[in-house]
């Protein structure tokens, strides 16, 4: 009677399944894009903090360099590169977590979870939103660094794309952890969406090498993909070399953290279904 509902017919093409999955993911992304289209303060908020960070750190760099007309120095590059790349990780994590929070705030999660959207598709949609939010949020700061301080992020070469990717993935791993806490403790855990990655800044080796840290803290830093990215960034800027070892370590650690956090997310999702938390997660 209803030929258009996509009923199972005995054999289902993998291609059809893949197309339907992509459409469901697009449905989630479309929902958030429609929200941004109708809410300019949300778009402004995306760019506000990265731009502010860039302005403040640009002047700090100029002051520390002691040569206010020569902010293209290597020290300036290391600091400004650190600021910009760390924003990628921060915005990636927030982009994922806050998109999930938007569903809680709008009391829409119940509808989403009774649709055929699989948990893995929900995660893929949130990752896509995170990429969009990073691009919109960080691009003005990158342009500002170039215009005000003559710092070109891409001066360190195409490897910067790999740095971007590694930090995006680290942001997703942390966001999966935050989302797991939201599923476990409800919106009461939402402050973590803004603060959790800031707490990792001291051990992420953003502005100084891992070797500066106390010996007991160095293994902690080296367990984070970010520390390897920033070691690689400093090598690219100071020695014009690609630190393949650090790059490989960053991606391997990303894969490990994503696997662990993905497992925790699925456990918490299933736990929320047992406790009935999906019905009243906003409370």
């Amino acid at each position: 009677m209803r030929p258009e509902t996509g009923q199972a017919t005995g054999q289902t093409s993998l291609l059809d399944e893949g197309r339907a999955a992509l459409r469901r993911i697009w449905g989630l992304v479309y929902r958030h894009l429609a929200l941004y289209r109708r809410s300019w303060p949300r778009v402004l908020e995306l760019m506000y903090w990265p731009v502010l960070q860039m302005i403040v750190w640009g002047f700090v760099t100029a002051y520390l360099a002691g040569v206010q007309n020569d902010v293209t120095s290597v020290a300036a590059g290391v600091l400004l590169g650190g600021v910009l790349l760390w924003e990628v990780a921060l915005r990636s994590q927030m982009g994922f977590s806050i998109s999930f929070l938007e569903e809680i705030w709008s009391r829409n999660l119940g509808h989403v979870f009774v649709s055929p959207l699989r948990p893995r598709e929900l995660v893929a949609g949130l990752m896509a939103m995170s990429v969009i939010r990073v691009i919109v949020g960080v691009t003005p700061a990158v342009l500002l660094a170039w215009l005000l301080y003559a710092f070109g992020l891409f001066a360190m070469g195409p490897v910067v794309v790999a740095f971007f990717a590694a930090l995006l993935m680290m942001g997703w791993a942390v966001a999966l952890g935050v989302t797991s806490l939201l599923l476990r403790y409800g919106a009461g855990a939402e402050a973590l969406a803004w603060s959790v990655l800031f707490g990792l800044t001291p051990v992420a080796a953003v502005f100084y090498p891992v070797a500066i840290l106390p010996a007991w803290l160095q293994p902690v830093a080296l367990a984070l993909p970010a520390a390897h990215v920033f070691e690689g960034m400093r090598m690219a800027l100071l020695q014009h070399q690609i630190a393949w070892g650090h790059l490989l370590a960053a991606f391997l650690l990303d894969a490990l953290w994503l696997a662990v956090m993905g497992w925790i997310f699925m456990r918490q999702f299933q736990g929320a279904r047992v406790r009935g938390a999906l019905l009243n997660i906003g409370e």
Partner: protein, 261 residues
Amino acid sequence: MTKPVPAQPAAGAPAILADHLTKRYAPDAPPAVEDLSFAMPRGATWGLLGGNGAGKTTTIAMLLGLLVPSAGRITCLGHDMARNRFAALARMNFSSPYIALPSRLSVGENLRVYAHLYDVPLAEKRIAELAAQLQLTELLDRPAGQLSAGQKTRVALAKALVNRPELLLLDEPTASLDPDTGDWVRSWLERYRAETGCSILLASHNMGEVERLCAHVLMLKQGQVVDQGSPASLLEKYGRDDLEEVFLDIARGRRREEMPA
């Protein structure tokens, strides 16, 4: 590039088969639903009746896969919800006044989101069709948060019908509506079921609504079915003139023999 679909639904299976469902939110808590069994046939409208805390919402949440039963088994449209719930969810839908749609998005955008999530073919055509049927065409560009309660109910209904569901679960579909709008929604649901053969399970506190729409009623109290039957058979059994009196008898634990002549 094909693979077998797991657990094919049995042809002619009931719309809903609940088999000894029990739900406890904590191991030492009393059950919110206890040993609930029923088989709702296809094309029927059934009602879940009960006071606050009787287990209606818990039952609906389990049927939708939002909640995992502590014991028992659910089959919707022939799909085992424990193993293959997404196949069933694609053919079902749900509406509740207690779960909102994003208020900043326009009505059209909201319906488009759910058309994508349910992989509805020719989505724009379907949205235009629903908008015309539910008198929403003029509202498609308006933010959902700016609508009246009656308009929101019609939008929620449009969302629930976007994928042409074979099974529709409605939680208090006319709550907070004025009598005229409530009557319009009930008439619309009656007509929709008659035209499409959709199976509808509705939870409601409105006895008139249940009496009018439902062929069969499950009376819940403290998570258990305490009585069931067609509205007419329940009226006869309790010797009452309307379902509200039957509801009060059951809620207050009165039996027919105890009632005043």
